[in-house]
Every structure is written in C-alpha cells, then in structure tokens.
C-alpha cells in the first residue's frame, strides 16, 4: 500500500480540518432499487465483527503472541540489613526489602507498634484503639466505620460493624484486620520487640500475625527473659502509653497452635 509522501508531513503538521467541497445531493441517489445511505455504524459487544481482534487480545493475554523482551532479572545486591531501629532482617534484593519494609514498617502504629496493610486500616486502628475522645464519642453516636473502601456506614459497636461486614460485604467472620479491642491497655514493650525485631526463632506461634491481636500471647513465645527485654529497650523508641493498663509481662501462656 503506497502512501503519498506528503501524508507523513501532514501528520507532523498542526491540527486542521479540510475546507469541505460543496455538497449537492440528488434525490435519485440511493433511491430504489438502490439502497445506499451513508451512515455511521456501531457494533455491540458480542458482534462477530470483533472476533479477530478479540482473539488477538486473548492470544496476548495467554502470552503466546508477542515474545516480548525478557523481564529484567531481579538484581541481586550485596547483603544489607533493614535500617529500621530494632529490625535485623537481612536482604539480597531490593524487591524483597521493599515488600518487607511495607509489610512491617510502613503502616506501623506509633503507640503500640502493630503493623497494618494499609494507611486506612492504620488510621482506623489509631482512632478506635488509642483515641480517648473516640471512646467518649462512641457512647453517643455511631463511630465505628465500615472497613470497606467506598462504604460510608458507621456503627455503634465493633460487633455491629463486623455483622455489617459479614452480611453486606460478604467478609469472612474471622477477618484478621477486624479483631475487637481487648480491654487491656494498648501499649506494651513486648509488642514493640515483636514487631520491630523479627529475629528468627521467635515466630513459631506467629503464623496468623493478627495485627490487632493482643500481644501478650506473642510475648509469651519470646525466648528472651524479662530482664534482657529491658536492656534491649534502648533500641526501641519509647512508646506512648495512655496509662490504661499496667505493664503486661508474661501473663498469658495461651499458645495458638496453627490455624487449621
């Protein structure tokens, strides 16, 4: 198909419409037995006109079509340690580090050191667990907001919210990011050590990793004795305690054996 050379320079030129030649129709045009009428055509979703293009699309999705350039190999770098205070995780690839950082250090509650998958859930947590004003207000009005993005519903209690999540949004009843707050205090050095020092060997019970679970259960599984915990405290920024609870210590020895 030979294209006129001027076409390419037209494309490079500025926008513009051609001054139309005069239109002059004869009523005999397209009159029976002829039938032509100029008209725009639209095709709906399932029309067979789209078959070839759709097949092309799906071949691409199945990756048969274009053998595109290889995905760059994940560059291995010399081992390095996570720079967050108290974390001694080691990495040899930036992608792994990125995921580690975002999972454990990015959306971390500065009061109780729990990590959350998103800013939104962190904000909700801080509001519901660490804001004393919230507690007061929630006695008078519906303050527990639905966790689903885009849903503006609010509820009187955490339980009501859970019922809503299950009923309207088909969430699992044991959704891990909606555990009710236990009555004990929110701040604990034990939690701080757990969240920021993911040393190997301390995570036998941590398979659930419930961000909102009471940390004393996990504190129980830490191999370090209480004394050592205090001396290692200098690596951990002081947590803000709202004075609701006494220090937790190894009160609970309840161990969770797996999540079967």
């Amino acid at each position: 198909m030979q294209l006129p050379p001027a076409l390419h320079s037209r494309l490079a030129g500025g926008p513009g419409a051609a001054e139309p030649l005069p239109v002059e129709r004869d009523p005999a045009a397209g009159a029976p037995p002829f039938r032509f009428a100029a008209r725009r055509v639209r095709f709906p979703r399932e029309h067979e006109f789209f078959e070839d293009g759709d097949v092309l699309r799906h071949l691409y999705l199945q990756d048969v079509l274009t053998q595109v350039t290889e995905a760059p190999e994940r560059p291995r770098v010399p081992e390095f340690t996570c720079q967050v205070a108290g974390c001694c995780q080691v990495f040899d690839s930036l992608e792994d580090y990125e995921h580690h950082y975002h999972t454990l250090h990015r959306n971390v509650c500065s009061f109780c050191r729990r990590a959350f998958p998103s800013v939104h859930l962190l904000d909700v947590h801080i509001l519901e667990w660490h804001d004393s004003l919230f507690q007061i207000l929630s006695e008078r009005q519906d303050m527990y907001q639905c966790l689903v993005e885009g849903c503006a519903e609010k509820f009187k209690t955490s339980k009501d919210r859970k019922d809503h999540l299950v009923r309207c949004h088909l969430y699992p009843a044991d959704f891990r990011f909606d555990k009710p707050k236990k009555s004990r205090g929110p701040a604990t050095p034990g939690a701080a050590v757990r969240a920021s020092a993911e040393a190997p060997g301390d995570d036998g019970e941590q398979s659930g990793g419930d961000a909102m679970e009471v940390c004393s259960e996990h504190a129980a599984s830490l191999p370090e004795p209480v004394g050592e915990r205090r001396t290692s405290g200098h690596r951990i920024p002081s947590t803000i305690c709202f004075g609701q609870g006494a220090s937790r210590g190894f009160k609970s020895t309840k161990k969770k054996k797996g999540h079967q």
Binding site: A18, F36, R40, Q62, A71, V148, E149, L170, H259
Partner: protein
C-alpha cells in the same frame, strides 16, 4: 516499553514452526470459545528468574502428605528460610492440576494458606500469594473458586504499598473474576470497584498494568453492562483511565493496552458514553491515534496492533453517539490528521496484521459518513488510490472500501469529479467480477452514484466493456434490479 511476561508455555529452545503450530491451535480454540460466548483467558505471572535460580527442575506432583508437610513447615518451621522454602516447594507443586485438586480438597489447607498470606512475615506472604496465584490460574472452576476465602484480603492489600505484592494480588483477582458469576457476586459487595479506583492512583507501571488487566476482566463479563459498568462509570475510574491513555513521554504501552481494552468494553456496552465524551475521551483517543501513527513511522511499533485495535473500536463506537451530532461542538473530532494517522495504521496492518484492516476501515467509514470535511481530506490528501490498493485483500475489506468510497461519492458532483477520471473505474470493473454478491452489490451502489454525479463516467464504463461484466449478474436475484437500472443509465448516455 513492555513489561515482558513469559507465559506457561515458555518456548525456550522451540523451533519456530512449533510455535506457529501451537499458536494456530490456540487461535482455533479461542475462536470457538468466542463463538460460544465463552471467551475467557487468564494471565499467569511467573518470575522466571527465580525459577531458574531454583535449578529449573521439573515440578513434581504433590500428594496429600507432602502438601500437609509443606504447610506445616511453612506455618511452624523454626527457621524463616526453611518456612519460605517449604512454601516455594508447595507453589511449584501447585503448577500441576493434580496437586491443585489435592490441595483444595485437603481440609484446612486454604485456611492455612490464607493465614500465611495475612502473616506479618513479608516473604511468606509473597510466597503464599504466589501459591494463590497458581490456583487462580486453573481452568477448573472448583480450584479457582476455592480461593474465595482469600478475596477480602487481596482487596485489602490493594491499598498497601508493596508494588510487587499488589501486582500479584491484582493478577490473581483478575484471574478469579472471570471464573464465574459466583466469584463476582462476592467480589462486588466486597468493594472491588472502589478498591480498584483507589489503587489506580499508584505510580508503579507494573501495578497499573495489572490493574488494567483485572479491570478489563471485570468489564468483559456477561453481566457487566447491568451490574458493573454503572458503578465503574460512577467512580473516578473513567478519568484515571483516560489520563493513563494520554499520549506523551509517560505513556507506557503495556499499561495503555490494558486500559484501552477497558475503555472498549465500557463503550461497546452502551451504558453512558456521553460521560466519557464529556471527560474528553474523544480528543484523548484521537491524540493517541496520532501518537501511534508516529510510532509506526519511527518503526517503534512492536505490538502496536494490540493497542490500535481497542483504540479504533472506541473511536468508531463513540462517533455514533448522539452527542456527536452537535456540529461544531467542543468534543468534535475534526482534525484531518486523524485520517492521515489512520492510513498509516492501515498500511501497518496490511503488513503486520491484516485481520485488523476491517476495524480500521470501520473507523474510516464512521469518520467519513456524515463529514464532508473528512471526505474532502481523503481527496485532497490523495488517499483514494491507497484505499483502492486494499481491495484485493478480502471480501470484507472490499465491501468496506467500497462503502467508504460511496460515502465520498454520495456527497455530490464536486466529490465525484475527483473520483473520476482515475483508477476507480477499472477497479470497479474488477470488483464487479467478484464471486461475492455483497461485493458486487456495493460496487453497483457506487456505480450508480458515479453515473448520477459524473455522467461522463458512464461512457468510459462502456468503453471498458463494463456492460459485459454487468450482464453476468442479470439473473442474480439480489442484483437484478440494480443491474438493469445501471444498464439503462449507461446506454442512455
């Protein structure tokens, strides 16, 4: 730049012929599926670099005991590396349908996997997500549906920050979406549309491509026009989609392809295209067309047809909207560079992907049908001859070319004078000899217009033995009347 993904059928060491053969088989299967309205494809995301690092040995089918063993290790192992390796072994086993089946029927297995997915152990999380991804890719409904307990978490993680992880979640969701209506009946109330609308603001190209894929899957399903597209149109998604299709240095081809298909599924469902026009959809797509033609000129056109196809469809369908009838309106497409760009793409299709020529010509029809300006452009830019060069390609292409020519001719004498004298008449005599009735029929229509507005053409026609060609069709029921009418006209000149 394409974010290269190698699929399951990694053709390392394959002969070219084997590739072609496999492709033909897949193509046939896809055509059959489409005709049965069952066109489903899933994307498998595998990190081949890590596959090679693992020694590249063939993944074994795992039995119940082995699966349980790996799960227990992953959950309760003492060493982190050990736990990770256990999950990797499980993941590789899950590449086999047999392992997948065993896994889903094993009590508590999905629960454990979800537990690992939601743990705070970053690398375990990633591996668990990869296991889930393998399962989501299965062609067996039961396997994919077994992943349902994980969906609320997959959606939750979309508002996180780890781009690799989000990408994985998105591809997994995209696979699950097309599985069945049952899956979608859960995903929609769980808030998938708002979750995607929030996630589309991510700056990561890999995330965006994955999101486009997931969204395109969602928009492609049967119940989309009633159940899904209205809420998509009501969200901020349309603006972001159009933003990501803006041509310029930031345009990423892989991302654009996905969102162009999203736009196509929305537009051809005819839910509320006026909204898209009001968001500047027409001008964005028009500029994109120009951009693509530029890429062809610079021969940076690898895989461009994958983007061109949905863009052409979107433009063509949008042009049929009533909003377009407002002459001189803000959202009009009047720039004749669009026609120039289209022809550059047609030439590109002719060389690389002839099956897309009809779609390009469809756009040309919609551009020229009601537009004296575009018809004039065709003439002034000398595009009639190139158009005629497409006639031999196929019957469908011939009919479309003839239709476009009719669009030009029906505008009157000023237009027909530029169509003849010229190569048109001899081409028409050629198409009149076609065995295809529709091709002949469309040729007759064009002849009528030409004779009407340019009477001298009839004389020329006679001299080129046109009458004999006409005579061949005298007995054909669908053509008779028109043939006789033309014979009369020609003879009376």
């Amino acid at each position: 730049m394409w974010s290269g993904r190698q699929g399951r059928l990694r053709p390392v060491g394959c002969v070219v012929e084997e590739l072609r053969c496999r492709r033909r088989e897949r193509e046939a299967a896809l055509r059959k599926a489409r005709r049965e309205q069952q066109l489903i494809s899933k994307r498998l995301l595998r990190d081949d670099a890590s596959e090679e690092a693992e020694g590249g040995c063939v993944a074994m089918i795992l039995g119940e005991t082995e699966i349980q063993h790996f799960l227990r290790l992953a959950q309760q192992g003492t060493e982190e590396k050990e736990r990770e390796r256990a999950l990797v072994s499980l993941r590789r086993g899950l590449q086999h349908p047999e392992t997948q089946q065993t896994f889903i029927w094993l009590e508590g297995s999905m629960r454990t996997l979800v537990g690992l997915l939601t743990s705070n152990q970053a690398l375990l999380q990633l591996e668990a997500a990869r296991c889930l991804h393998e399962l989501s890719h299965s062609e067996q409904s039961a396997v994919a549906e077994a992943c349902l307990p994980a969906t609320s978490y997959l959606l939750t993680y979309l508002s996180g920050h780890s781009s690799d992880f989000i990408e994985l979640c998105l591809y997994t969701l995209g696979n699950l979406i097309v599985e069945s209506e049952a899956v979608r009946r859960q995903l929609l109330p769980q808030g998938i549309v708002p979750a995607l609308a929030a996630c589309i603001q991510s700056p990561h190209l890999t995330v965006l491509e994955a999101l486009g894929y997931a969204l395109s899957q969602l928009l492609q399903v049967k119940e989309a026009p009633e159940m899904i597209i209205p809420s998509v149109l009501g969200s901020t998604l349309p603006e972001h989609i159009l933003r990501l299709l803006q041509p310029g240095p930031k345009l990423n081809l892989g991302v654009a392809v996905e969102f162009a298909w999203c736009l196509h599924y929305i537009i051809c469902s005819q839910v509320d295209n006026t909204l898209l026009i009001s968001h500047g959809g027409l001008s964005t797509l028009g500029l994109l067309l120009l951009d693509m033609a530029g890429a062809v000129q610079r021969t940076e056109d690898t895989g461009l047809e994958l983007l061109a196809c949905p863009v052409l469809r979107c433009l063509s369908n949008l042009l049929t909207e009533a909003a377009m009838e407002v002459v001189g309106g803000q959202n009009q497409l009047e720039d004749e560079r669009v026609v120039a760009a289209l022809f550059i793409l047609l030439q590109f299709f002719l060389q690389k992907q002839p099956s897309l020529l009809p779609e390009g010509l469809w756009l040309l029809n919609n551009l020229t049908a009601n537009s004296p300006s575009f018809c004039t452009s065709l003439l002034s830019m000398d595009l009639i001859e190139p158009l005629l060069q497409l006639l031999p390609v196929s019957n469908v292409v011939s009919i479309l070319v003839l239709t476009v020519l009719c669009n030009v001719a029906e505008k009157g004498p000023a237009y027909c004078q530029r169509l003849w004298p010229g190569p048109l008449l001899s081409c028409l005599i050629g198409t009149l000899a076609s065995p295809d009735i529709e091709v002949v029929g469309q040729s007759l229509e064009l002849l009528q217009l030409l004779f009407l507005y340019q009477p001298e053409a009839a004389k020329d026609f006679l001299q080129q033995s046109g009458l004999q060609v006409l005579e061949r069709h005298q007995e054909e029921a669908q053509l008779q009347d028109r043939v006789h009418a033309l014979q009369q006209t020609a003879l009376h000149q």
